[in-house]
Each structure stands twice: as C-alpha cells, then as structure tokens.
Amino acid sequence: MPGDPVIVDRLPVARVAAAHRRRVADRVLARPSIAAVLALLVVVAVFGVRVPGLLTLEGLAGVLDAAALLGIGGVAVGLLLVGGHFDLSIGTVTVASAVLTGVLAGPMEWGIWPALAVSLAAALTVGLVNGWLVVRTGLPSFLVTLATALVLQGTTVSALPLVAGGPRITGLDEAPGWSSAAALFGSTAEVGGGVFRVSLLWWLAGTAGAGWLLWRTRFGNDVLAMGSSRRAARELGVPVQRTTLTLYALTATAGWLLGTLALVPAASVAATPSLILAIDFVVVAVIGGCLLTGGYGSMAGAAAGALLYAVARRGVELAGWDPRWSQALLGVFLLVALLVGGVVRARLRAAPRS
C-alpha cells in the first residue's frame, strides 16, 4: 500500500488553474484575429491619408465589393482550415460552375434557375469527390485538391470554346427567369454616390452563419476537435468522414456562389485561369487568424482579413501605383500574421511545467 494518502485537492490542477487567471492583455493577445484587425487599422490610416478618395462612400463601395468576394471564399476556406484541411480547388470551382451555368443558360437555352441548380449540383459533386478522396486516401488535402483544381481548370478552359465557339459567353440576361436571379445575385443599392452590391449581404450572412456554425453548434465542435487532433476526434467518435465531406461541400457551395455573383452582374462569363484565387482565400483566412495547422480560427477574423486585402489592393490602385505592389504588401501581411499566429499559439499552449 502507498504511504501517505494523496489528497486530490493538492493535485496540480488547482495550482494550474490559479496560475491561469489570465489578464486582459493575455486574453486579447490570444484572440486569433488580432493581427488582422490591427493591420486593418494601420492600412486604413495610411491609405486614408495618402488617398482620401478611399474614405468616401464611393471608395468604400469599391473596397467592400472586392472584400465581399474575398470574404465569402475566405470564410469557407477558413472553416476548412479549422477542420485541418485545405482546398485549392475553390477558385477553379468558381469559374467552372459559372461557365457551366453560362453554357446551360446561353447556348443550351435553359432557364437561368435550372442552370444554376445544375451547376450547384456539379459544384457539390466536385466538393464531395474532394472530400471523399481526402477521407479515403488519407493523402494531404493540399495535393488532392490541387489535382482536382488542375483537372477542372484544364477542362473548363479547353472545353468552353468547343461548346460556345469562343472563350466567352455573353447575353445571358435573355435567359428565362433572369430578373429574379439578377435581383438575388446582382442587385445594387446606391447610397450617397457609392454603389453597393448585394454580394455584401451574402458575405455578411456567410460570415455570421459560419461563425455561429463553428462556435455554437455540435458540427462546429466536431470541426474544431478534428482540426485540433484527428486521433482524439476519432477516439471520441467524431464522425470524421461526414464532417470532412460537409466541409468540402461547403467550400464548393461557396465557390459556386462566387461564380454566380460574378456571372450575374456581368450577364456574361469567361473561362479564365483561376487557381490563384484559392491562394487568395487561404491568405485571407490565415491573416484573419485561422491556424494552418487546424483546430482554431475566427470567422470574423477572416472577414477582417478580406477587408484588409481589399483596402490594400484598392489603396494601391487609387494611389496610382502599379497594382502588382499590392501582392507584395499582402505577402508582408501574411508573414506578420504567421508570426503573430505563433505568439497566439504560444499563449494557448501549456504553461511552463514546474
């Protein structure tokens, strides 16, 4: 028999808890989105001084228009990152689903709604195939989705001219049911000289919905657990396969929505290479505080990341610089975000063992 009985109250637990009454500063620093918010403030201040046009309603509308599209993709990719996966195919899904909609509603003369429904189904199929491949093979999702992205992009770019007789389909507004689709995906509102697009509402709804899903539902808890430790998630009976498939279906849906939001206002669609779009979304999500390693992230942060990206791009444009500078700027932001992310993770990590 052991000597002295060990009193459970004296176990390390109580001491650790006492040591972890974290101060306010610690709590703020542990917020993953802090880097994006701070950088956003800096960028708005810098460009606000240099380019006053940015801070008018007109400038704001331009920024928000770009931010909305980046934000929708960023939120979807961010959710996937939290679950410990990666999707490089979302950019090509965007273009491919828009092209499919265009082909069905243009040369094939379908109504716009059936065309949209079919392209959504096709996008979901791609998402489920991605998810299925990742779940089945256990290969890194980076490579699996890179493969599907290449297949999709090659097919789209080379097949469209064969079907439509050119790299672009125009005049889609003649398709039956166009007016209701235009209202839902293409309407605008003018406020004091700034033209705000409906994509803004989709972005807000997507961010709020994803944030709620992640932090306030069982599904979100499954995603967090899966990204944090896949082995633990499996041992605790998290439906890893179903959760992964759902996540890929969600990014594919976001891709389809982005394609539709681009197709409807222009009433035309072109097959452009779009692999880089997926990188943009990852950058937005990571700047917003989603850990590349999974297990933690912030949907509001991804929204802030999208805003940051949009302000930087628009600011560089309005300042009259070569727009390609904005990419370099973004790279710097990403680097800073990664470094700050390291600090955040350190704050989340165990206290030094005594």
Partner: protein, 266 residues
C-alpha cells in the same frame, strides 16, 4: 437465472490485413469487478480497448452487452450505450477549452434543428460537476486544454469517462510511468466505478499496481487469452513474474527462431 455479465466476448477475432490482433477471445467483464488486462506490447491489449470502445468493429465472434449481441458503429455509439473509455493518449483536443473537450460528442443543445445550438452554460456546469465528482476543483472550464498540465489532462479524461460511463469503464493507461498522484486518481476512479456496479477494464503495465486494485487479471499474449486469474490465484510477485516471464520467453523464442530457422514455429 443470474444477470448476464455487462460485457462479454465470445470467440471474438479482429484481424488487421489478415493478421489476427485478437484471436477467438472469450472473456466476461462482470459489473462491480475490476479486470486488469496485462500483456506485453502487441499482445492485443489496444485492440481489446478499441473493440470495447467502438473504435474498431470485430470481424468474427460476438460482443455482448448485458447478454445482447452489439456492434458499435463508432465510439460515440459505445458511449451512448454506457461504455466510456479513458484513452492511452487521453484523447483531448489541445486547442479546445475544457468544456468543449469534456462534452464533445454529447454536447447539451437548445432549440430545434436548423437553429439547434450548444447550450454553453449547461456544458460549463456539466464540466465543473464532472470534475468535482472525481475530486478536482478550481479548473476554469473555458481554459484551453493546452494550458493544463499532464495530470490535469488526465483528470479531464477520467472525469469525462466517469461522467458518461453508465455500464462500463475502460481505461488504457499511458505507457510512460505515472506519478503517485496520477495512479491515485486512476485508482480512485476505478474503485468508485466498481462501487457503483460498473464493469471496469483496466489496461495497465504495472503488475504491482494491477494487484493492488484488480479483482481479476486477464493475461493476453499474441491476441489470445494466456491466463484468466483471480486475486485468490496470484499475488503481486506472481503477476510480475508472469508478465516478465512472458516477455522474456517471447524475446528468446523470436531470437532463436531467427538464428535457427530449423526450429520452426513452435
């Protein structure tokens, strides 16, 4: 007619790619009894845990819960049936808060389906109560598990299993040596579970410790039951010898077979 055992394995086999990890194992786990499972690495201990906890389905034979054949689709199904497990790696998600970890998979919710959401307050309260139940107080349920020390993580895993285990408790001890405080915690958990009439399955590497708390001792070797003993049959030294002997003998056999293939598979 006596009540059937809480858990029973009948001719149960599990194969990994044709190699049997458990080979026609027949054993019962009675309520109110602590069964210690002993055996060297690769003897099938982990597979036994995986089968009991629903992580791995068996290929042949039957798994019976209260005399009824069952086949769990996932660890969640096993837990819903009242079989809770403390995993060797503790199965905690490091970046998640204590309450998210404790309630994972059985989170209290509010509202109807499209708007069904976590009842965070209830989950926090459940967590605090589950930890208090095993004698741990002062843990902030919002704290990330990452910030807990090893002992506290183990408390969390045990509290979770004790909270959800209504019929059986399965503990797979970590391979690294545990401190006295950790052993005490495990001991209290298994003794408490026995007092409540649960079937307790304790996979341990420490024969002296096994003898201290165990009522029955199941020795596994190469996926088969090598011994099913009670306290009356053995003392701590016997157990130690049995375990050590088995390990040495196997090592010797393997070595000799390597050097002298003419010995064949004896």
């Amino acid at each position: 007619m006596p009540a059937p055992p809480v858990l029973e394995l009948r001719g149960l086999s599990v194969r990994y790619g044709g190699v049997p990890a458990l080979d026609r194992v027949g054993v019962t786990f009675e309520g109110g009894c602590i069964t210690c499972v002993l055996g060297e690495n690769g003897s099938g201990k982990s597979t036994l845990v995986a089968v009991l906890s629903g992580l791995r389905a068996h290929d042949d034979g039957d798994l019976l819960l209260d005399g009824v054949p069952v086949r769990f689709r996932s660890p969640r199904a096993a837990r819903e049936a009242g079989i809770a497990t403390v995993w060797q790696d503790l199965a905690v998600a490091p970046l998640l808060s204590v309450w998210r970890n404790l309630c994972l998979g059985a989170e209290p919710t509010r509202g109807r389906w499209p708007l069904r959401r976590l009842d965070v307050d209830a989950a926090r309260e459940t967590t605090v109560r589950a930890l208090e139940r095993i004698g741990v107080t002062g843990v902030d349920p919002d704290q990330p598990v990452n910030s807990l020390q090893a002992g506290a993580r183990q408390s969390l895993a045990i509290a979770r299993a004790v909270h959800f285990g209504a019929r059986a408790l399965v503990l797979d001890e970590p391979t690294e040596p545990m401190t006295i405080a950790q052993h005490t915690l495990v001991g209290q958990a298994v003794l408490g579970a026995r007092a409540r009439g649960l079937a307790v399955v304790l996979v341990t590497h420490n024969p002296r410790y096994a003898h201290l708390v165990g009522d029955r001792f199941l020795l596994l070797a190469r996926g088969q039951v090598a011994g099913d003993l009670t306290r009356a049959d053995v003392d701590a030294d016997d157990l130690t010898r049995l375990m050590a002997g088995g390990e040495e003998l196997t090592a010797l056999t393997t070595r000799l077979q390597e050097l002298h293939p003419e010995l064949g598979d004896r």
